[in-house]
Amino acid sequence: MSQSVMTPDKNMSKGMGRSPAESQAPKGEGLRGFMSSSRSDYLMLAIFALAVLTMPIWLAPIGAGYPDILQKFAIFGIFALGFNILFGFSGYLSFGHAAFLGTGSYAAVWMFKLLSMNAVIALVFAIVVAGVFALFIGYVSLRRSGIYFSILTLAFAQMSYNLAYSVLTPITNGETGLQVAGSDPRVLDRMFGGTDGRGVPDFFGMELQGWPGFYFCAILLILAFFVTMRIRNSTFGLMLFAIKSNQNRMNYTGFATRPYLLAAFVISGMYAGLAGGLLAVTDPLAGADRMQWTASGEVVLMTILGGVGTLLGPVIGAAVMKYLEQIFSSFNEGVLNRAFDFMPAGLQDFMVTIISPFVGDGWHLTLGLMFMLVVIFLPGGIMEGVRRVSGRFRRDRGDSSTRSSAGH
């Protein structure tokens, strides 16, 4: 049942023995279905960009048409996209990615405090710091693979989390969390006389709160999507897929796989840093709980829910999960009573009693159940569900794009 998750494409194995120079030719016979033509890619990018930018309109009917939640969709979309570069493309399951998210947040807030409220400086610094941190952790963790790798990354993330709470309190401000204050030096802002002490991050004068904040995140999401697309279609992406399908064979053919993995790890760490930085931009506050391993588990779930190894899946998974989190945790008995108002009184009470453990504070129960159900029944995530449904329609035409889901 797990075929399509661990071995992304049956065509891959045919393209494996090629030298890098050969596999650079993008439309090789063995690579069909893996490397689609660039025109359809740009079409997809255009549709994606349009869909993201018009989210306020088409998500309004389901109650998600306000900036706070849309920002979250975009930010966690970036986080999941980056995680997918590592887990989805190369098959290495990191259980400590939240460490980079947290590092990015701290780095961004420090830039707000020290230099300027300009979001660009903060984000660049967040990406760089998270990247360096990922380079260090990746260098050590990638010496092992499989479950050892997962546990090493988990150990590092827990280590960072514990340190952020204890010794590094001067940097992280411990349990209170790092905040911007009116008394911060903000050297650049003072130099150019721009500071009004409100402590709202801006983009060259435009305050990034509410809708401008969302569009800022959305544009970065589209950019991140574009970069991910280019990575997937590059030789580098191909190498990662090859490592995923059979790392031993890669090693036997004489490729040093570790540099590729390390690069993927650092890139995905930088995505996480960007996401963490954006979290700080939309709300200039950084806390250690962003580094906790439950946060790492969350991004794994987002990616799985959407579809591991697919381009669009992680973004969809992130949005679906943040949306469900929002509505489930906001429900309480009053809301439920109103929702089931149309039922007879006895049945209404019954439904409310049944459902109330799953909403509000019990949102995590729903999350855990969802996690299990997705892994058990739909390991390929939403994207696989879509493919199965569309495959049913196209079966008679024998379309090759449905082949990867045929293994079930």
């Binding site: 797990s2 259980f95 514990n162 010794v167 019990g362």
Partner: protein
């Protein structure tokens, strides 16, 4: 010197808990080949078995408190005390150790249900998917416990006879070191459970089959032994071991619903340090890391390396994995990938 002895003692009971959880993890991993992220939740469920049992024993009746004369005061007296007098009170006091009686069947049944209902469908699937599905299960289990028992830690008391301190110093011939007796009981308890598990594996035919299955599952199956059913029982045993570790740990640390997650991460590190698939390795690493963690929390050491107590276990894990990739006692061919 006294401080060091005290810290080593401190590490022994914590190490005992790590060792017991890691033992179960290793048993499950070695026999079934499954990475069980829900094992910490089993530890937590064991702890809540003790909570449930002691609540059951202390179902009380409200009676007028005669000693207060100024106003109407009431106190709660457990029915057991009302009915059986001193014997009943003794049973109530010994609730935690007595919970073992309840915990063993409950935990074995939970283990069976988990293995038959979920885990067996994941034998053929990748480790990543095993991790993910058991991680989901762990969340579900802890949320169910949270729903019934609330989010706050529930303090439990050791039996009065064992609640005090013992003078360890006299035993060791050193100066006066007093130490909570229950922690020593816990250490001895964990040692005896470990001993039982090892004796079971070494001295019974069933244990022989299990050991053979850990070494080469396929051949044992070819010899006509129903290895599937044997392994279900192993899962039940591992679940009971984790549960018992949880039951007895309640007087040391008040259980709350995320107790399991806290211990799980550490136990996995213990398993990896000990060597995946090696039972003696799991026990050794459990005690070793427990003691190291307590030693690192000494003020003298924290003064030299601040924050070392928070990260020592992870640091050791990283160093061990890099220097001895198979762990302290890992065998060739187990999880080499």
């Amino acid at each position: 010197m006294d401080a060091i002895i005290l810290q080593i003692l401190n590490g022994l009971d914590k190490g005992g808990a790590y060792a017991l959880i890691a033992l179960g993890l290793t048993l499950i991993f070695g026999t079934l080949g499954v990475v069980n992220f829900a094992h910490g939740a089993l530890f937590m469920l064991g702890a809540f078995c003790a909570v449930a049992f002691s609540r059951l024993l202390t179902i009380s009746e409200r009676v007028r408190d005669e000693s207060v004369t100024f106003f109407e005061a009431y106190k709660e007296i457990p029915y057991l005390t009302l009915w059986y007098g001193d014997t009943g009170q003794t049973i109530v006091d010994w609730a935690v150790p007595l919970s073992i009686v309840l915990a063993i069947p409950v935990m074995v049944l939970i283990g069976f249900a988990m293995e038959r209902g979920l885990i067996r469908f994941f034998y053929k699937r990748s480790h990543a998917e095993q991790i993910l599905v058991t991680f989901g299960l762990a969340i579900v289990l802890q949320e169910i416990v949270k729903y019934f028992f609330g989010a706050n830690p529930i303090p439990m008391t050791a039996p009065p006879a064992l609640a005090g301190s013992a003078d360890i110093g006299a035993l060791l011939g050193a100066s006066n070191i007093s130490y909570p007796m229950w922690r020593i009981v816990y250490f001895l308890f964990s040692l005896s459970i470990i001993g039982l598990v090892f004796a079971f594996l070494q001295m019974t035919t069933f244990g022989m089959v299990v050991r053979a299955g850990m070494a080469d599952r396929e051949t044992v199956g070819l010899l006509g032994i129903n290895i599937g059913r044997k392994f279900t029982i192993v899962f039940g045993i591992a679940s009971a071991v984790a549960g018992l570790a949880g039951v007895m740990y309640t007087p040391i640390l008040a259980p709350n619903y995320h107790l399991g997650m806290d211990f799980l991460v550490l136990s996995f590190v213990v398993v990896v340090v000990g060597g995946m698939g090696s039972l003696p390795g799991a026990v050794l690493a459990g005690f070793l890391l427990g003691i190291l963690q307590s030693l690192a929390s000494m003020t003298e050491i924290k003064a030299i390396v601040p924050g070392i107590d928070q990260i020592i276990i992870y640091l050791v894990a990283v160093v061990v994995l890099l220097v001895r990739p198979r762990g302290l006692m890992g065998r060739r061919g187990v999880m080499e990938a």
